[in-house]
Amino acid sequence: MDAGNDAMPAAGESAGTSQTTGTTTKEASYRDGNYEASGAYKSPAGAEEINVTLIVANDVVTAVTIVPKAEHPISQRWQKVTADGIAQQVVGKSLDEIAVDNVSGSSLTPIGFMEALDKIRAQAQS
């Protein structure tokens, strides 16, 4: 992620991130420690800024604190979505690597998609 990108920096990445303590654990993708970052992004209401603090232990984000700096009421609501629950950077895994019964997402999943799932399931059982 480049500095100046209008995305929130993730833990362990360089842009605007400071790591205060750290140990490396086996196969961990994040080092333990406290991370702080500020991020800027553009909302329809204009440029916005937020401060983010993460605590990482054993490859799990154990605490997230987000301080929104937005002054626009609607943007505040959106930013605060990030302050609930657990936060984790995620990636897509190919559906043929995982066995699923159904798929949930945008509600126009085409028929071909479900048929492809059937084929995968059949292969997995043969």
Binding site: A7, M8, A10, S29, Y41, S43, P44, D59, I74, R77, W78, Q79, K80, V81, T82, A83, D84, G85, I86, A87, Q88, Q89, V90, V91, G92, K93, S94, L95, I98, A99, V100, D101, N102, V103, S104, G105, S106, S107, L108, T109, P110, I111, F113, M114
Partner: protein, 293 residues
């Protein structure tokens, strides 16, 4: 007799898949024909994409209007969501959606945007079969309608004696079991539909997902904020697991506008909110796993 049945069909603009076990093929086919007429009746009543639908027929009316009983049920389901989201979930958004280009002809051409009236003062429930309309409005039940329809199909199958089944309407799913059976659901990546960002487990529960990616045009996707006439862009996809499909459907839309904690004051549900930075925010007891980036 314990035959597995799997049926797929297209209806209300999406793909349905119903899996059920038990009873004979003949009984299943009879059940399916009832499912089809249930869905047909629902579409005829609630679809603003059909020019002959009930909501289109009453779109110019004011005063006291007779409506089906489940019309009132649906209206009342919106009320807590309307208040919790500060007016973002509003079934009076039909005209605005048309103005944005999301109309019966799928013109996807933006016109001058009309404002959405507040619920209070515009619609009044008179009794279980009548409402009073103050100014002409086009009802749109996009936030809850499909989930509610899944629940109606669920009730139909249960009343027909089925005990093990799942109903999937375009990725919104409700399942039932007496045997602790679990359905494993892939969470479709909003940008890459051949991948999933995680999986969750359904058992006697429902899931609904909402994403802005597939139905988008111009500066809009299919979720539009009635207060601003814009599509929310910080959240890219949401999923909710709840007891009913209607609730899961409603909350998955509400999460585009409102913090989970606000909605959790009133409703019990598990959630995943994916933001445009690729970070998933999810509830502590989510029954599933997300794939770490």
């Amino acid at each position: 007799m314990n035959e597995p049945h799997k049926t797929r069909f297209k209806a209300i603009g999406t793909l349905w898949q119903i899996d059920a076990s038990g009873e004979s093929s003949d009984y299943w086919n009879e059940t399916l024909s009832r499912v089809h007429s249930l869905i047909g009746d629902f579409d005829q009543t609630y679809s603003r994409f059909r020019k002959d639908s009930f909501v289109q027929k009453i779109a110019r009316k004011t005063g006291i209007v007779a409506v089906p009983e489940d019309f009132i049920t649906l209206l009342l389901m919106y009320l807590p969501l309307y208040h919790l989201t500060g007016g973002a979930i509003n079934f009076l958004i039909g005209r605005l959606l048309e103005d944005c280009g999301y109309d019966a002809d799928y013109s996807f051409t933006e016109r001058e945007l009309r404002s959405v009236p507040p619920l209070t003062g515009t619609i009044e429930v008179v009794d279980s079969q009548h409402i009073r309309i103050a100014t002409p409005v086009l009802f749109d039940f996009g936030a809850i309608g499909k989930g509610y329809l899944i629940d109606l199909v669920y009730e139909l199958l249960a009343a027909r004696g089925y005990r093990e089944f799942s109903i999937d309407a375009g990725g919104d799913i409700r399942m039932r079991t007496d045997n602790d059976r679990v359905l494993r659901i892939g969470l479709e990546h909003p940008d890459r539909t051949d991948t999933a960002i995680g999986t969750v487990r359904l058992s006697n529960s429902a899931i609904a997902g909402s994403a802005g990616n597939r139905r988008s045009w111009g500066r809009f996707h299919h979720i539009i904020d009635p207060r601003t006439g814009t599509s929310p862009d910080l959240v890219t996809a949401t999923w909710v697991i709840a007891a009913s499909a209607a609730l899961a459907d409603a909350l998955s839309t509400a999460l585009f506008f409102t913090r989970p904690a606000v909605l959790r004051k009133q409703f019990v549900f598990e959630f995943i909110v994916l933001d445009k930075f690729g970070t998933a925010h999810y509830s502590e007891k989510l029954p599933g796993e997300l794939f770490r980036g």
